[in-house]
């Protein structure tokens, strides 16, 4: 086919390509911040916020407001570290603190990530059981699906499908509005802090922090920025994306708590399984609540189960300088592939334990995240404040203050949790 001279007709293929380009552009605007933040509302997130709302009503909302600022600050810090250094957090820890500290940081990250992976598969099991699918069927299927999607398909496509499906979260704000939450009380609880020195309460408290700000999220946002080739010059737009992402995520989290508080807490219903958590959507969806909740939970769990094993394998390999990448063969990158397979299999295997209480497991995994988050945050803050590493993009005072307050707050909470769990054993009553 020889192109005729002077023909000006645009072929259909060109128009199609143009159309696809503008769609691609629209999806490209959904940057690292929004994606990471969205993946934050995973199985652990949904169950933790639901339990928080059902058990303690609106009383944890003040903390969610504070945590939103922490999330914005820590995610911004991670993105800025990626833009300033062009390196992942694991590499920076290794280069600044050497092998021993890196080993410590990686053990913490590995434990937290494996716990979260377990939560994702527990989420799949719970969602399956809503539809009457036994976990011995749903969990292995999900593990196979995740593996096939990520390894055989491209992660980018997987991510987009899940992102589109995550629009299902919109049912939470709608449900909150339909049920007619007592807004006066909601707003009061957003600004007036309250706290109890009681182990069960502190556990939910830490889990809520740990599911909102996660160790893996800290590594992920930075890697994403590095991977996209965002440097100091392009950073401005990313910063907006990251900050918007933090507020959008917590907007959803906020309504998850409000919706469960105004449906379950007021009626004194405790969440023991996904079925109770689904009640939160009844004012809006009626008998469809179970189905909507099941889809939302399954989608969130599958997205999490796709990201976490990968993120874990990449992070550990980056720290120790092992070959990593899905484009590397098993022989070229044995440890990477081994870690990836181990994370998927471990998560699925634990979720398969018969009669494993799924909701408590998901909650507990977020506690593990919350406790270990302090370790990762301290490394991140110290590196991000180091002008030798960060140059002109080093942490400012305000950001540093918020990030340190989060890390120290988590340590204090962990001590309180230990104290309040141990004290009753010795007949001491706190609070």
């Amino acid at each position: 086919m020889t192109t005729k001279l002077g023909t000006k007709v645009t072929p259909f293929s060109t128009r199609l390509a143009n159309w696809r380009r503008s769609l691609g552009l629209a999806l490209a605007i959904i940057g690292p911040g929004i994606i990471t933040a969205n993946a934050d509302n995973d199985a652990g997130g949904i169950s933790t916020y639901s339990v928080a709302g059902a058990r303690y009503g609106y009383s944890l909302l003040w903390m969610l407001v504070l945590i939103t600022f922490s999330l914005a600050v820590t995610q911004e810090m991670g993105a800025r570290m990626g833009a300033a250094t062009g390196k992942g957090l694991a590499a920076l820890i290794r280069e600044r603190y050497g092998v021993k500290w890196t080993f410590f940081a990686m053990v913490c990250t590995l434990v937290a990530n494996l716990a979260t992976t377990v939560a994702e598969f527990a989420g799949i099991a719970a969602a399956g059981e809503l539809f009457g699918v036994p976990r011995w069927l749903s969990v292995p299927l999900a593990a196979a699906l995740v593996w096939i999607l990520v390894v055989k398909w491209s992660y980018r496509s997987v991510e987009r499908v899940f992102l589109i499906l995550s629009a299902v979260y919109i049912v939470y704000p709608l449900s909150g509005l339909v049920v007619g939450a007592p807004w006066g009380e909601v707003f009061r609880n957003m600004v007036v802090p309250s706290f109890h020195l009681d182990a069960a309460y502190i556990m939910v408290f830490i889990a809520t922090v740990g599911t909102t700000i996660t160790p893996w999220g800290q590594f992920f946002i930075q890697a994403y920025v590095v991977d996209k080739g965002i440097g100091p010059r392009e950073y401005k737009a990313t910063r907006v994306d990251v900050l918007v992402g933090a507020f959008v995520t917590d907007f959803m989290s906020f309504f998850m708590i409000v919706a469960t508080a105004s449906t379950l807490h007021v009626r004194g219903i405790q969440i023991t399984g996904a079925a109770e958590a689904a009640i939160a959507l009844e004012p809006l969806a009626g008998s469809m609540a179970r189905i909507l909740f099941g889809i939302g939970l399954a989608n969130a769990s599958l997205l999490g189960a796709s990201i976490l094993p990968l993120a874990t394998a990449y992070t550990v390999c980056e720290a120790f300088g092992w070959e990593a990448g899905l484009d590397r063969s098993r022989r070229e990158a044995p440890i990477f592939h081994g870690l990836y397979a181990f994370a998927v299999l471990f998560g699925a295997a634990v979720a398969l334990i018969p009669h494993l209480p799924l909701v408590p497991v998901m909650l507990l995994s977020q506690d593990v995240n919350g406790i270990l988050l302090a370790v990762v945050l301290i490394f991140a803050i110290r590196i991000a404040s180091d002008r030798r590493v960060m140059g002109g993009l080093a942490n400012g005072r305000v950001g540093n203050g918020v990030a340190w307050a989060t890390a120290v707050g988590l340590i204090v909470l962990t001590v309180l949790l230990l104290g309040s769990s141990v004290a009753p054993l010795f007949g001491v009553r706190l609070g």
């Binding site: 991977d227 010059r233 899905l326 993009l393």
Partner: protein, 470 residues
Amino acid sequence: MAPAILYLSQIVGKPVYDPENRPLGLLDELVVRLGGPFPPVTGLAVRLGGIGKSVASRATFLHWADVAAVSADGIRLSTARVNVAPFHRRQGEILLQEDLLDQQVMDTHGRKLVRVNDVQLVAFNPSGSDLRLAGIDVGLRGLLRRLEAERLCRWLTSHTSLDIPDRVVPWEEIGPLAVGGPEAEGEAGTGPGAGLGAGPGTGPGAGPRAKPGGGMHLAHEKLAVLHPADVADMVAQMSAPERVAVIGSMDAEKAAEALGELDPEMSADVLEDLPTESAAEILAELPPDEAADALAELPSEKADELLDTLDAKDAAAVRHLMSFDEDEAGGMMTTEYVALPGDLTAQQTIDRLRRLAPPAEEIHYVYVVDSRSTLIGILPLRDLIVSPPDTKLSAIVAGIAGGAGGPGEVVHITAQAPKDEVIRTIDKYNLLALPVTDDSGRLIGVITVDDALAAALPPEPGRWLRGVVR
């Protein structure tokens, strides 16, 4: 006696003794003067009496000439006189702990980036005072040694069938290092309060960038013999400052070859961060199409600044190429090709080619044009060589199917044709290069098959999630 092997992790932190065997302090750092396959250790830093934690300010640097003996138990000096003058890193020196340990370096033999788990030193004399840098430990064993699990290693290897070998990359296989870090550049920021508060609005170069010119040590010329595609592969995985340092350390021609293999966005970033003179030198070596691809990604002032360094003819060619969309034929073509008038004879043409000596990839075809540059034929080199010496080019191309004819009849594509059509046309006619014409049929460039292939492949995957994120 065979040279004794010592690892950096085995001697750092060990005591440093004076000639009377009284401990002076602890070994903190070794300085190596680069050059040759076994660069010598030329200095050491001692933390005197273990005072203070702040190593950088408390450590005292000593000349290696004052060292009498080295072993895994510590270092003995030959003098008790300690000069406490502050240390200044000189050109060509690296600090093993700070610059090398735990950093990422290029293994030019394995053609990949590796992380430094430990540094292998070799003592060339029995006392150990002639200590030299021999290699980089990148294996699991080095990692375990750093975790002080050496004994576990030995136990495992002797009691089980497990083998945990040392994996050491000889120093001569290690590529250039970016040394010195961003300290100096960091001061260019907005001072305390930058970061979240002030944001990144500190202008270009606010972030840490490798110091232009300085801070770079070329260990040896290993990089020059690697294939540019392999260099580009490694360079693409580095952080931006390292990338700039490594590219900046290469000679312009090699740097241009490697840059040509990077994706245009990345090569644009490198060109932007390099000092203008080095960027200009590299740009002059880049083929016009690759130069245009990279410059199109830069802000227009920066692109203009760089274009002005080229000679007027090259700059005009690059500007012309930049005017096309990257997804159309004009954006994929190069302006380097051989076009000759049809009334030349085969012999004259061969003589002309010998004189022009164009690079190999541009010589598969001679394009036959008329006085107005209108494409009238494509002459494959084979047909030129096998023709009788006095045949006119116009006569040779007349006998080639699809290779000759009036305007518009020769296989070609217009500059506005979309990428997909370019790929299909090259595939259909089995071409090594496809001529591109403007609306009036004048030859303005050619698209080589390798560029079409690159355009046909899915986008280059990213680093961390490789093909995952981008």
